[in-house]
Amino acid sequence: MTKIDTSSPQNVLPTPSHTVGPFYGYALPFRGGEDIAPLGHPDTITVHGYVLDGAGDPLPDALVELWGPDPAGHVSTTDGSMRRDPASGDHLGRNGVEFTGWGRIQTDTDGHWYARTLRPGARGGSAPYLSVCVFARGLLVHLFTRIYLPGDDAVLAADPLLTRVGERRDTLIAADEGRGTYRFDIRLQGEGETVFLEFL
């Protein structure tokens, strides 16, 4: 039954998720996927880290998507993250001027990823954060988490999610490495397992 009858809600049931598998690498990643910040923007930060499995081994085939607001807390409605060349069909990438807020990064063979984006501003009752969606071979349903940035302890202490997760909050707060660079490892399982989210 793959024609969905939308006339009654009980017929509208979700399509199940599946793993991205091992071979998305020539399809989903695109040039400049990790360079989300407009060139030379003074509020640019670098976030980076490893994606690790339950044995502590890095994943060379994980895909990380980041989604965040601009420094004023405004959510971008600008397209053009993966602009393409109508002549050759190749990826042109971003234009270096507009901020789309979204990026996609494949881990390298060491299981490491990085992105340069704008420092997110606060929205609603939350401390500033970047939303993260993780995909991998072996992961049947993607995982959501958040990257909070350290610095303002009072703001972090008032965040509703960080308050709820108790001692595990440290897995959601990146480490400040100076020069606007922040380290954020994603541990899928085991000791120091990252807090993952579901949205109701």
């Binding site: 969905i4 199940p16 793993t19 020539y26 499995d53 807020g101 009752g125 072996g138 949205f199």
Partner: protein
């Protein structure tokens, strides 16, 4: 000892029996696969053991996850949804047309959003350097496409029927033919990556990935329907596949997007 199909069959049967017993005793129907599904060996070390932390999105409409990244016409080219026209020659295989609608949990169309696909060629080989399955590459087929949904949430791809292929989960493991799909909704919470299958594939019972969806009705939602009205005379076979995104939608819809 080599892990055989018979071993995996037993594990799949046990998972299904446990699920059906649970539902019979009042447990909720599961629309999604479990992340810890041991018959798919790669899942064993790659799923969290702590429960997910639930966020009630109705309490804070300002959450960035309730918005979605935007995609537009400059993110695709005009023939990106025709995988048979990306090279100078014709790809080998049976041409197919795959079409359907992208919907949210309320049955509303998701308009102007990005749908990406990738797949093996007709011989069951991906154009990926790490793929070393001994089947021919097709110089006229890459197997990657993308499109933006129309005002009805509709999408349409022209491509080649992918072949089944072996993998190394266990001895003699074969994946049923499928096309990988990646979708965005009106909210980032609705993000979905999945695989579309073809009707009556004999490999379904043996494949731990499709069987990771233990609910029979949910699993059927991954299988396209042959639709003669989508077949193009003298050209292609037609398949219909509607997609319903899980998760809360945006609290408002931008008109005209």
């Amino acid at each position: 000892m080599t892990l055989t199909q018979a071993d995996i069959d037993l594990e799949i049967a046990a998972e299904r029996a446990a699920y059906e017993k649970g539902v019979a005793e009042g447990a909720p129907v599961e629309h999604q696969p479990r992340r810890d599904y041991a018959p798919y060996r790669s899942s064993v070390l790659r799923h969290p053991k702590q429960p997910l932390v639930a966020i009630d999105t109705s309490k804070d409409p300002e959450l960035v996850e309730l918005h979605s990244p935007a995609f537009g016409e400059r993110d695709i080219t005009g023939i990106d949804n025709d995988l048979t026209r990306q090279h100078s020659g014709e790809p080998i295989g049976e041409r197919i047309t795959v079409s359907g609608r992208l919907l949210d949990r309320d049955g509303r169309p998701v308009r102007g959003q990005l749908v990406e696909i990738w797949q093996a060629n007709s011989a069951g080989r991906y154009a990926h350097q790490r793929e070393q399955h001994d089947a021919p590459l097709d110089p006229n087929f890459t197997g990657v496409g993308r499109t933006i949904t129309d005002a009805d949430g509709g999408y349409r791809f022209t491509t080649i029927q992918p072949g089944p292929y072996p993998w190394r989960n266990h001895l003699n493991a074969w994946r049923p033919a499928h096309i990988h799909f990646s979708m965005f909704g009106t909210a980032f919470t609705q993000r979905l990556v999945t695989q579309m299958y073809f009707p009556s594939d004999p490999l379904f019972p043996y494949d731990p990935i499709i069987q990771s969806v233990t609910d029979d009705a949910a699993r059927q939602r991954l299988v396209a329907t042959y639709d003669h009205s989508l077949s193009v005379p003298e050209f292609s076979m037609g398949y219909h596949w509607d997609i319903v995104l899980d998760g809360p939608a945006a609290t408002w819809i931008e008109e005209g997007r």
